[in-house]
Each structure stands twice: as C-alpha cells, then as structure tokens.
C-alpha cells in the first residue's frame, strides 16, 4: 500500500525564483493538504485541494498556489521566493468528508533559499 510520496526531497533556490513541489497521495485518498514546517515549529496549514479545487486556505500569501490533477496528485507552487520560505514542506492526504480522521503525511521536501 503506497503511502504519501513527495518529490524532490531537497531543493536549493535563490531569492526571487519560483519552485514547484509535487505530491502523490496515499492510495485511496482523494484530498491533499499542504503544510509549511519551519525549524522547531509545528506544521502550518497552507491549503487543501479536493476535486481539483482549493477548498480551504490558511494564512499564506497568494505567492503560494497549488493544483490538483485528476489522479489526485498535487503540486505546490511558490513564486518570488523569500529567505523566510526556507522550510520543510509537507503533503498530507485524507478522504473527503472525514475531516476529523487522521491525515497521512509524506516525508516532505526540504526547501532552502539562499
């Protein structure tokens, strides 16, 4: 049973650049959420996708955008990168309508901004 997979595992970018991170949800899951985890902090909710639409959004600027594909996989795009965007980006999957159920996480993409 394939769990949540994310790519790439590490990425180094410079300020002002753009980045795309990818996520494949756990088999059978249809909802994907993205989180930003700064060093020493808990995950912060960025947004959630279901049926190829953004359903919920946390307190992140519109430099952060996403996409979900018909096969439920998802991308996170960040434009005009800032030093403060350096973090671990986590993808989590779940089933729609089961918002109180645990989310399953991938191992994340570690993004470093120089």
């Amino acid at each position: 049973d394939a769990g949540v997979t994310q790519s790439p595992t590490h990425l180094i970018k410079t300020r002002g650049q753009q980045v795309t991170l990818r996520c494949s949800p756990k088999s059978g899951h249809d909802t994907v959420s993205w989180y930003q985890q700064a060093l020493g902090q808990g995950p912060q909710f960025i947004f959630q996708y279901y049926e190829e639409e953004e359903r919920q959004r946390g307190n992140f600027p519109d430099r952060f955008s996403g996409h979900q594909f018909p096969n439920y996989s998802s991308e996170l795009n960040v434009n005009a990168l800032l030093l403060g965007d350096s973090a671990l980006y986590l993808c989590a999957s779940s089933l729609v309508g089961q918002g109180s159920q645990p989310q399953h996480f991938g191992d994340g993409t570690r993004l470093s901004i120089l």
Partner: protein, 108 residues
C-alpha cells in the same frame, strides 16, 4: 490566542523513565485529538487518535483528554532511546491545528 499550545521543550530523560507531554487548546468544540511522532528528516506519523474525554492506551503509550480543562496529554512508559523524536499534538477543526512540537531525547 493560538488554537493549540504546546511546550516545545526540549525534554531529556534517562531510559526507562515515564514521559509526560502536554498541550492545551482554546476551542471547547474540538472533539478529536491526535498525537503524531516525527523523527528527524521524516514526516509526522500518527501515534494516537482519541475522541472526547478519557484515556486511550496502546502499548507503552497512553493518551489522555480532559475537556473540562482543555488539556491533552501523552504518557510514555518505560521510555526507550528509539522514542527520541519530536511529538506533535494535532486537533482537526476548520483545518488541522498542530502544536509546536516537543523534542524528546531518551538517554541510554
């Protein structure tokens, strides 16, 4: 006020000790409570999942919820070096709210 507050530690204990990890939350409407464990360079993995008040035990781990105080706890008995990780409390609401995580080191 944050939805979930957690003491970040760090916490360092000798092998075999009992560990107590705690979180408080602000919204009395919350019904489900989770604990995740996160090893270095890994994503969070679900450890315990509880509903409403009371205790839930799974091996060496016990999750406790006190809704009257809006306080949740995770106890680890007979702690092992392999328990060294960051422990995150999480509560589903309009979104998933996570604590800051408590870093635990169990010293052999």
């Amino acid at each position: 006020q944050k939805e979930v507050e957690q003491d970040p530690g760090p916490l360092s204990v000798p092998e075999g000790a009992i560990v107590s990890l705690n979180c408080t939350y602000s919204n009395s409407a919350f019904q489900y409570f989770m604990w995740y464990r996160q090893y270095s360079r890994k994503g969070p993995e679900l450890l315990m999942y509880t509903y409403s008040s009371g205790n839930k035990e799974d091996g060496r781990f016990t999750a406790q919820v006190d809704k009257s105080s809006k306080y949740i706890s995770l106890f680890i008995r007979d702690s092992q070096p392999s328990d060294s990780a960051t422990y995150l409390c999480a509560i589903p609401g309009n979104q998933f709210y996570f604590g800051t995580g408590t870093s635990l080191t169990v010293i052999p």
